[in-house]
Amino acid sequence: MALLEVDGLVVHYGKINALKGVSIRLEQGDLVTLIGANGAGKTTLLNTLSGVVKATRGTVRFGGEDVVNKRPEEVVARGISHVPEGRKIFSELSVEENLQVGAYTIKDKARVRELVERSFELFPRLAERRKQEGGTLSGGEQQMLAIARGLMSDPKILFLDEPSLGIAPLMVDKIFDFIVQINKMGKTILLVEQNANLALQVARYGYILETGKITHEAPCSELRTDDAIRRAYLGVS
């Protein structure tokens, strides 16, 4: 049984039809990427899965349970964590406080401390900046903090929305190393990216989203060699 199974998801913003029946599957421990151009509906899909946006139709099954249109806090409590686009760090809170908010659904204080320490082990860079305000970090560090914060709820699945956005190229490679490392820790990851080149290298399976519809899906090794995709997304003529 798949860990996350999305079937025929339809989303409207007012009269605008943003998702026109999207279906994807993620197995336990998988690293799957969703790529597509600006406005294809990638962020809308993640927002719907995490309960921020409501779906018009379709089902979302997570661990066998229907979670479509549940409130965000209920979704988080079930083990889904969403690292939003543009990092969205709480800039006036310290690094540590940002992490604590990430563990919001965990009531046990000792467990939260444990998770904070785990984040600092995973991202030593953040440990150095523990007491510093989130807004004063560099873009790459903020992205690390956003990912660490996403892991604080100890989720089964992690959604990453454009982790490479607006970050120095050297740092992007580092971030992607972390993504692979987190996946190896056993976390299932759904990676949404515009940087198709990189995403197709690290992920196992890929979906291509175009104006609200999945147009291609295949193992990434196949997508990388597909001529149409190379032309459209990898900048190869």
Binding site: S50, R71, E73, V76, L93, E97, Q100
Partner: protein
């Protein structure tokens, strides 16, 4: 703000505490003691409004009305049922909190601009209601003869005694708010202020926390109303109108949104200015308006503030010549944190 080391901060706090305790003796004059007492009440009002504006990043222009609801509730209960202040005061607070919770449930899903109008309209409705509900509030005649509280035969009629009563109350409220700010609840509020969507994806029930902030703020505001009514002993509708809401707002804005000490500073300054410039009494509203505009243009986070109502979210356009300065100021502030 300059960060003060722990040791010095403790010494400073002790000095301020001693000064506040000795104040009635230092001032001597009952008139000054009266002003000091009023400052205490406004410290509570500004600090509770800061919960909404500074911590959670919402708006309320109806706090004058909540202040009035607390004052009227306690006055009516003690005059008609002859209950002691120690019963009517907490009841007035709870009643105000309840009204606040209902208003919050009804309006807090509104976008910011609409929330401003919603709370503003609510304030006016309350004022008009008080003005016209003759059987309950005596309408435009107001309520005179509100009893002075006493405790085990000890009366607070003397201004100095009442000053101490308000001092304890204000210190307690500021302390409680500071504790809340550093708690799980406080972090959730700040997270909502910083980014509502991000907060909700972390599992913070945003709407619930907004209503909670509104309710707690109204609780303290209502209590302050009760303390005010039993102090001045005569209340009328015009004391709790829109001007009052704007006065409290200006205190928070001037002192600093989102910090603990900011609203206290704002309350002290704005209560002292009219007393120092009594000859300008009729221009008081003009002065408050000018201060509010000045703060927004020159120092949107206020004298000791962190962030809040008047600081636009990063990325939005603002005066270009200020932009860089504010960014560097924010970075400089990073080490210090909230006072």
């Amino acid at each position: 703000m300059i960060s003060i080391s722990r040791k010095y901060r403790l010494v400073l706090q002790l000095c301020v505490g001693l000064l506040l305790i000795a104040l009635p003796y230092l001032l001597g004059n009952q008139y000054f003691v009266r002003i000091a007492t009023m400052i205490g009440i406004y410290v509570v009002l500004a600090s509770s409004l800061n919960l909404i504006i500074g911590f959670t990043g919402m708006y309320s222009l109806g706090h004058g009305a909540f202040y009035g609801i607390g004052a009227y509730a306690s006055a009516i209960l003690s005059l008609s049922l002859h209950w002691p202040f120690w019963v009517t005061m907490p009841l007035a607070g709870l009643f105000t909190a309840m009204v606040g919770a209902f208003l919050g449930l009804a309006t807090l899903r509104l976008r910011q601009t609409f929330l401003v109008f919603g709370t503003l309209a609510f304030g006016e409705i309350v004022r008009i209601l008080i003005m016209n509900w003759n059987s309950l509030t005596r309408g435009p005649m107001g309520i005179p003869g509100i009893p002075v509280p006493s405790l085990f035969g000890f009366s607070f009629k003397n201004f100095s005694n009442y000053y101490y009563l308000v001092l304890v109350f204000a210190a307690l409220v500021v302390f409680l708010i500071a504790r809340l700010y550093r708690s799980r609840v406080g972090r959730a509020w700040v997270a909502i202020r910083e980014d509502e969507v991000a907060a909700s994806t972390m599992g913070v029930p945003v709407f619930g926390y907004k209503v909670l902030a509104f309710t707690i703020s109204c609780l303290f505001t209502g209590l302050a109303g009760a303390f005010y009514g039993h102090f001045v002993r005569y209340i009328s509708a015009d004391q709790f109108g829109m001007n009052e809401s704007f006065l409290i707002l200006t205190m928070v804005a001037l002192g600093g949104t989102g910090s603990i000490i900011g609203p206290v500073i704002g309350a002290v300054i704005l209560m002292l200015i009219p007393e120092l410039f009594r000859f300008l009494a009729q221009y008081r509203s003009v002065l408050y308006g000018a201060i509010l505009i000045l703060v927004i243009v020159v120092k949107p986070e206020g004298l000791a503030g962190v962030k809040g109502l008047f600081v636009p979210p990063s990325g939005t356009a603002r005066f270009h010549f200020r932009k860089q300065k504010i960014d560097s100021a924010a970075e400089g502030q990073a080490g210090g944190g909230a006072a």
